[in-house]
Amino acid sequence: MRVQMKNAVAGLAVSSVLLGSGIALAGTMAPDAVRIEDMELSQPLTDTAGDPARGREVFAARKLGNCLACHANKDLSNELFHGDVGPSLDGVAGRWSPAQLRAIVVNSKTVLGEATVMPGFYSLDVGADVAEEFAGKTILSAQDVEDVVAYLTTLKQD
């Protein structure tokens, strides 16, 4: 794991083209530098600690995480129409560690297997014929992911 992290740090993004937000900051891990080992990613993607309040917004926003499309979440019961393609996220913090949650959000296939329909939110391992406006970009920015992971760790109640 340590060795992997070294590679990851070596790949810190300095170019601005790779990130969903279009802005890459020093201290941000580029998507192709991320190494998920044993279903975990313990190294945060950025130097800025995740903000759970902002993560809650990213989680709900249709143009960002849009997580409610597939997952129910009682903490957001003010929003109608929670999907059920994926499992409910009530109590998810008790089922997965922060490092596992980060790995799932970044590239779910590394944890849940190739057959999962869950997109990888910080991965360039994507489907065929990506539309030009999304080519080479991730769905979420590194900070978005950190914020969402911080939010998920607050979902302790079943």
Binding site: K63, E79, L80, D84, V126, G127, A128, F134
Partner: protein, 284 residues
């Protein structure tokens, strides 16, 4: 701007009535105007991943289902009426209408739409109704082919397909090179696409019966197309829907009637073998 869009969407969601209930397709029978029985569940064709193929009608709300069961209430019937006008209207340099050669559509087109897409030997590829109509317009009417999704194209296809209301879908895969196109369509169906990395199967095979937000995922059968979509308040052609789904995966959209989408149409139509034509179906 991005924030504004997000909050706009959230506001819309709150206005929408009722939370999605978690339900399988309903047990209900569709009889249009109390006389035309529609097959909404059929034994799946050999090679299908399903035991039973189901119409998207079974996945809609009671209110939406009722709209389709009454042709006076069905907003898609306006397009059938418009299609009938076009059928009887002379167009093009030859001064001919469809009716001039094909006569009364209720006789000549009865059951025809249930067997499309169909192998076209001259073109060396499968034709759907849109391509067949355009070929007829050019060769026989000396008229301009319809542009994709021109209102008259949608109306005429809807009208012709409606002449098969109740007839089970049956695609002839033995004709010409239909099997090769079917294979190509199958490959497309299972190819994960776009930034969201989803295939048709991700939603319509692995997760039909579940909800994506307020959308109750069906098997994605094509027997109701062109279909009246309440969300768009318009008739929606099959290739429009294909392209919409592909766009939603954040992939580049293939052109309507391109080889890949024609192959997909052959394959997906086959998956719905045995379901009655419902055109104009009413969907969410």
């Amino acid at each position: 701007m991005r924030k504004a869009i997000v909050f706009g969407a959230a506001a819309l969601a709150i206005v929408g009535a009722g939370a999605a209930s978690f339900a399988e397709p309903v047990n209900d029978e569709l009889v249009i105007d109390g006389e035309t029985k529609i097959i909404t569940r059929a034994k799946a064709p050999e090679g299908s991943p399903f035991e039973e193929v189901t119409s998207g009608w079974l996945y809609r709300t009671k209110e939406t289902r009722a709209l389709e069961a009454d042709s006076f209430e069905n907003p898609g019937m306006l397009y059938v009426e418009r299609g009938e006008e076009i059928w009887n209207m002379a167009a093009g340099a030859a001064g001919k209408s469809c009716a001039e050669c094909h006569g009364d559509a209720s006789e000549s087109m009865k059951g025809v739409g249930a067997h499309y897409p169909k192998w076209n030997a001259e073109a060396g590829k499968p034709f759907n109704l849109e391509l067949q109509i355009n070929a007829c317009r050019e060769a026989n009417m000396k008229a301009e082919p319809y542009k994709f999704d021109a209102p008259d194209q949608k109306a005429l296809v809807t009208y012709i397909k409606n002449q098969s209301l109740g007839t089970p879908v049956a695609i002839d895969l033995d004709a010409g090179e239909m099997r090769a196109w079917w294979e190509k369509g199958k490959e497309a169906y299972y190819t994960r696409m776009g930034q969201l990395n989803l295939s048709c199967a991700s939603c319509h095979e692995q997760n039909n019966g579940k909800y994506i937000r307020a959308d109750h995922l069906s098997q994605g059968n094509t027997n109701g197309f062109p279909t009246y979509r309440l969300k768009q308040a318009n008739m929606v052609s099959l290739h429009n829907r294909f392209r919409g789904c592909i766009r939603d995966t954040r992939a580049a959209q293939p052109k309507a009637f391109s080889d890949v989408l024609m192959a997909l149409e052959v394959y997906v139509a086959w998956r719905g073998t045995g379901l009655s034509v419902e055109t104009p179906a009413v969907r969410q």
